[in-house]
Amino acid sequence: MTQALIMLTSRQLLGRRRVFFIVLLALLPVAVALIYRFGSDRLDPLPVEFAPGMLDALMLGAVLPLAALIFGTAALGAEIEDGTAVYLLTKPVDRWRIVLVKIGVASAATIAITLPTTIVASLIVLSGDQAALTLAFAFATVVGSIAYCGIFVALSIKTSRALLVGLGYVFVWEAILPALFAGTRWASVHQYMLGVADLISTAPRFALDADLSGVAAVVASIVVITLTTVVATKLLERFEIGQRL
């Protein structure tokens, strides 16, 4: 049952055009790393200062949330929009199982593309040194992918404008509000990722610009992933065909 769910979701999700676009996007930090490393003779700022800023701004702040947004909203949202979700919902499959598979496959796809590019970009900038920093961003990428996909899958059940709302969350809520209102850091996956990276990295905390402590970020990530799974399940249980199908 779960295997069939995974097969349907993967084949639906991993369309050639969608994957090509996200891979292209994910290569951006690698390109920037290459330009930094080989673009001039003198490295300014120092690699240990440049790597956290670049990976934070480009990977955690833009590429990863965009990839998660595209995969997360499409994992179930695309089926709801094109009407094929009816074949899934007319099966005696627990709704929580559907939600878990959708979040799982979307997260796996996001991780499969963003994790290697995070590691490669980090290794290029740091020339293989500072392994803890590379590891920290790798972990942050995994945690962030799952948390974002949970949010975006739930959002795609709730609204047909999930992509638009998701963009607002990433580029308005997360990018602007934590700087203005300290409380919003608790509702920012970006801040969770920085907190997780801070927990693993040996770099000074200010270098990562983390507003949450590592433990708080891990707890908040677990809460968000659990909460979005529960909310998405409830939304799917109450989903009416006339709503969108």
Partner: protein, 308 residues
């Protein structure tokens, strides 16, 4: 005293509205094993009824029970219920066999491969079963959807406009399949806006008009009501007055209206009038230029039923 068996599907004072729009208005009906047709013009509320039966829509008021359980919020019911939606959408990247196989696996069947093969054979799609459905015709997609919906041999099968896009041969073959399933004691409920489809397949019928139940019960009794109603024909001949004088004497003609260039004839017996008008024309010595029924739309048939 014998007790009535519990109906397979029951609608009890069911209404459904979307904000201010009433889509279904206070409908009660018991669906028994066999084939029941839900007949009505487009937009009458047929799909809303079927979606409530399938547990995909919550009734705004009233109750919908399927196999003794509330239809809404009971996904476990899908072990015994199948739904063929009206939408043409299918997983276009899958072949019909992969679609049926995925369906069988999602149902948790013990031998999904065999179940998929049987379902594909039922709809006679073996020759094209391994091609991706994106290349299928509308009729082939329809058959693939039906195969996927009956892979678990449901006790209740709900089909929304199942004959859309099928050619006459496929239609006959699908009708035969549904009849066979009904003969096995299953409850088959299908919607259609085409009277002849319902006539050829359904034992019982629900006629829906503007969200209300216009008529229900044995199809043949309702069909009689439909054929016995007055029919109106537009007639034009080389001498309308002479022809009108002859027609008004006929037993099957209840009235004739002459209005300038136009003659309207009302008949109480469709078959007798259409068979006898040639004689009347010959006797009157005129030539018939036009004979057309003026009220044969499904809407007018349904409107007539509502007023009965």
């Amino acid at each position: 005293m014998t007790t009535q068996p519990e109906p397979a599907v029951r609608l009890l004072n069911v209404s459904r509205w979307y904000k201010d729009v009433v889509a279904v208005n206070d409908i009660s009906f018991d669906f028994q094993p066999g084939v029941t047709g839900v007949l009505g013009p487009n937009g009458a509320g047929k799909s809303t009824i079927l979606h409530m039966l399938a547990g995909f829509l919550r009734p705004s008021s009233g109750e919908v029970h399927v196999l003794g359980q509330p239809a809404w919020g009971s996904p476990a019911l899908f072990r015994r219920v199948g739904l063929v939606p009206e939408s043409e959408a299918v997983y276009s990247f899958l072949s019909a066999r992969e679609f049926a196989l995925a369906s069988a696996r999602l149902h948790g069947l013990p031998n999904p491969e065999a179940a998929a093969d049987i379902a594909i054979a039922h709809v006679e799609l073996q020759a094209d079963q391994d091609r991706p459905m994106r290349g299928y015709s509308k009729g082939m997609r329809q058959r693939a959807k039906i195969a996927a919906s009956l892979v678990h041999e449901p006790d209740v099968l709900i089909l929304d406009e199942p004959f859309n896009g099928t050619d006459p041969r496929q239609r006959l073959q699908l009708m035969e399949l549904l009849r066979r399933m009904a003969a096995e004691g299953r409850t088959i409920i299908f919607s259609s806006h085409i009277l002849e489809e319902v006539e050829r397949l359904a034992d019982e019928v629900l006629v829906i008009l503007a969200g209300r139940l216009a008529a229900s019960g044995d199809f043949h009794a309702i069909r009689r009501l439909m054929t016995d109603r007055p029919h109106t024909f537009n007639v034009r001949s080389t001498d309308d007055r002479r022809l009108a004088a002859l027609l008004i004497r006929r037993a099957d003609v209840s009235g004739v209206t002459l209005d300038g260039e136009r003659m309207e004839v009302r008949s109480t017996d469709f078959a007798a009038f259409t068979a006898g008008i040639a004689t009347a024309v010959r006797e009157s010595g005129t030539t018939l230029l036009e004979l057309s029924p003026s009220d044969e739309s499904l809407e007018s048939v349904f409107s007539y039923l509502v007023h009965q």
